[in-house]
């Protein structure tokens, strides 16, 4: 009797599992992105642009492309930035990858390439004239291009010209000692000298990245990207620089629980509302700031200067750091997908892109739309830079980058040391690939 009951239960269980398994298997192939029938192609495109000018740009581009190529329909899908990576990973794992999607680049792109999830892209001569080899180099692995960049995202310090003149600062600082002197002047007029969103870790870590960029030579940085061994003394030196810079208390009160972009209390919000004078950030910052000003318009007195030089460093004082990435084509996408990305690189589209995202388009022919003072300063510095590096958490991969960011936050909180950054990154390398 007991036995039979058990048999019945097991039978019911087995049936259920079989049903569940077949249900899972059924979804696999059909939900995958591109579908073509009778010459009609429907492509999916995932972006982190949220409703606003950015998303409108992509919708318009898809419409225009459909008019030019009536057999191609592109579905633009907007996914919130912080949940983007998780969703994409699930999609890639379950064979339902979108045909085109936002690519973060660096170690993340490397992992996708290793897993055979991306199509190498063969750029035509036209493409190559639209996007310079320098811009595409960060999206290449072993000589093959895996993503198309849309803009250049050089990083530097955004500042409020009004607050600077109120504090009696004539010109933006060019060295760290000058910056420290300006911090004191800004404190005297009772504003936070520098805003940093340490709750999100990476904005704080960017201070360390830049000190490392100034302390370490280009060769050292590239060698470390391969070995993930942070034993060169310049890595510790960069941490020491940051520690000594912290002694002047340059950041806003409670920076550890300040986020980067969310609301008026965020670091971008503090700059937008003249509560803080400076913020070290990538070129997307003006767009973020403009949504946080009281009237939701761009901040009129926003200026930009490159990260100051560090006396005695091995790195070139003109070197810059920035984001890369762009858009990738997934392994099983129809060939029409790449066509759309090529279209996005053309001059008209690039101009529209630059206006929509308030950023510097990657196509040099479209850079004429850059008119605001902070964009002109950053573009000049970018074109003058001896070399550019990607953000270190991108270069060194998500795993090491994540540990490095956390260790920098520890240092800022007074809980860690510059040697701790090095040991944390080495420990992280053991946990992952």
């Amino acid at each position: 009797m007991m036995k039979k009951t058990r048999t019945a239960a097991i039978a019911a269980l087995g049936l259920g599992l079989a049903l569940a398994a077949s249900a899972c298997a059924g979804g696999g192939s059909s939900s995958g992105g591109g579908q073509s029938s009778g010459g009609q192609v429907t492509l999916s495109f995932w972006t982190n642009a949220t409703p606003g000018p950015g998303l409108t740009f992509f919708h318009n581009a898809a419409k225009t492309y459909h008019t030019l190529h009536p057999n191609v329909t592109i579905n633009i899908q907007s996914i919130q930035n912080e949940s983007f990576d998780g969703k994409l990973q699930t999609a890639l794992n379950s064979n339902s990858a979108p045909d085109m999607f936002l690519q973060r680049g660096g170690g993340k792109m490397q992992a996708m390439v290793n897993a055979g999830q991306l199509q190498p892209l063969n750029l035509t001569a036209t493409d190559q004239s639209n996007v310079s080899p320098a811009a595409i180099s960060t999206d290449s692995i072993d000589g093959k291009v895996y993503a198309i960049p849309m803009d250049t995202l050089p990083e530097g310090i955004f500042y409020s010209k009004d607050l600077f003149s109120r504090a009696g600062i004539a010109a933006p600082p060019t060295t760290i000692p000058e910056l420290e002197a300006d911090v004191a002047k800004l404190k005297a007029i009772k504003v936070a000298p520098i805003a940093v969103g340490a709750k999100d870790a990476w904005p704080a870590a960017h201070w360390y990245y830049y000190f490392a960029l100034r302390e370490c030579s280009q060769a050292t940085m590239n060698a470390t990207a391969k070995s993930l061994n942070f034993s060169d003394p310049c890595w510790t030196k960069a941490g020491d620089d940051l520690s000594s810079f912290l002694k002047v208390n340059p950041f806003e009160q409670g920076f550890l629980t300040t986020s980067a972009q969310q609301g008026a209390g965020s670091s971008a919000g503090l700059v937008a509302n003249h509560k803080a004078a400076m913020e070290l950030m990538g070129n997307w910052d003006p767009g973020v700031i403009s949504t946080l000003t009281p009237n939701q318009k761009p901040l009129p007195d926003l200026g930009w200067f490159p990260f100051p030089a560090v006396p005695g460093g091995q790195g070139d004082p003109s070197a810059m750091m920035g984001g890369s990435g762009g858009y990738s084509v997934s392994a099983h996408a129809p060939k029409e997908a790449f066509g759309f990305l090529e279209f996005l690189l053309t001059k008209d589209q690039q101009q529209a892109y630059g206006k929509a995202f308030i950023s510097i388009p990657v196509n040099k022919a479209a850079q004429g739309i850059v008119t605001s003072s902070y964009e002109i300063s950053s573009l000049q510095a970018f074109n003058k830079a001896a070399y550019t590096m990607q953000f270190l958490d991108t270069v060194y991969g998500q795993n090491v980058g994540n540990a490095m960011n956390t260790a920098v936050v520890n240092l800022l909180a007074g809980k860690g040391t510059s040697a701790g950054i090095v040991s944390a990154t080495n420990a992280a390398a053991a946990k992952g690939a």
Binding site: A8, A12, A201, G254, L256
Partner: protein
């Protein structure tokens, strides 16, 4: 189909081919009872089937999968191939960050019991009296428990900022010297968290205790009072011991909740700074070192460790403390 029918009692009786021992072939008065057994089996299968499928599919299967992934170094793309054996577990157990996390979880477990328990019992005793505005107070105490963790976390993190309302209020009432960096100061953050946890979950404990108190017959208290026991003697020697089962169940729920604490910490301290502030838990460690770092294999191993810790604590607690309240539960089989 006919085979299946032939294999079961009901089937055979439907086919009209009863065998020896089957209900229909047996002498009365057995038939009704035997047929009832066949139906019983069917009922068990039908009623428990969906629950078992859901439990196995959504609990057992993921646990097994996590254990499987935990043996790999895996970035989350494609099928895991880089088998590393027990290396992930070795790294977890030797990681100083994980030791910190265990310490935090342990503190949260103990402090939750110590802070919430006595407070909840006192409040329940108070609210068990017939006082004015009793239902109003009950509602007010219970409200924080109903508010979602995200809202509680966001609200408190705004209140407790250095420039937030709490510090402002302290300055205005002349207690400015008490103002502090409640969330970021590593010496204070865990206590701020405990304050929020107590505020949020005390309502649940009070409601449980109240229900326990109200199930105690009035006659016991009355009898004691007639014998001359004071109010406190009645509470101490009659109510409290009879409230025992409720307290033990509440403590069990509190311990498990504390071990798995995630959402409040994640909302208030975000993805990165909980370990800096000293409020990280096993769950935030798992997300930080698994999902955020892209080490899905490692993250799965952490999940397994967390599952084992919770399981061991739960079984030990059931075995040692809940045994008399739950006779015949899991504990009986585990000797």
């Amino acid at each position: 189909m006919s085979n299946t029918l032939g294999a079961t009692v009901i089937g055979r009786s439907r086919l009209g081919k009863p065998q020896a021992g089957d209900a229909a072939s047996a002498a009365s008065p057995a038939p009704r009872k035997r047929r009832g057994r066949g139906r019983l089996r069917l009922e068990i299968a039908l009623l428990s089937g969906p629950a078992i499928i859901i439990f196995v599919g959504l609990v057992i299967f993921p646990v097994v999968l996590a254990a499987y992934y935990g043996f790999y170094r895996w970035q989350g793309y494609g099928v895991p191939t880089d088998w590393v054996g027990l290396k992930n577990y070795q790294l977890i157990l030797t990681d100083p960050d994980f030791h910190q996390v265990l310490l935090h979880n342990g503190l949260i477990v103990v402090l939750s019991l110590v802070l919430q328990g006595p407070l909840a019992i006192l409040l329940a005793l108070l609210l068990n009296q017939k006082i004015r505005g009793r239902s109003m107070i009950r509602v007010l105490i219970f409200v924080p428990f109903i508010i979602s963790e995200v809202i509680v976390g966001t609200g408190w993190s705004l209140l407790l900022q250095t420039t937030g309302a709490v510090n402002d209020a302290l300055h205005h009432i002349g207690l400015g010297f008490l103002a502090a960096d409640w969330l970021a100061d590593p010496n204070r953050a865990l206590w701020s968290l405990m304050g929020i946890i107590t505020w949020k979950y005390i309502g649940f404990a009070v409601i449980l205790m109240l229900a326990g108190l109200q199930s105690i017959p009035d006659e016991l208290g009355e009898a004691a009072r007639i014998d001359g026991a004071s109010y406190w003697q009645v509470q101490r020697h009659i109510m409290l011991p009879l409230l025992g089962p409720t307290i033990r169940i509440w403590a069990f729920l509190s311990i498990i909740g504390s071990l798995q604490l995630f959402d409040l910490v994640y909302i208030i301290w975000g993805q990165y700074i909980s370990s800096t502030a000293g409020t990280s838990t096993m769950a935030t460690y798992m997300v930080h070192n698994g999902r955020d770092a892209g080490n899905y294999g490692y993250g799965n191993a952490v999940a397994v460790v967390m599952f084992l810790v919770s399981l061991i604590v739960a079984l030990t607690y059931q075995r040692l403390i809940l045994r008399r309240d739950m006779r015949g539960a899991v504990t009986q089989g585990v000797t």
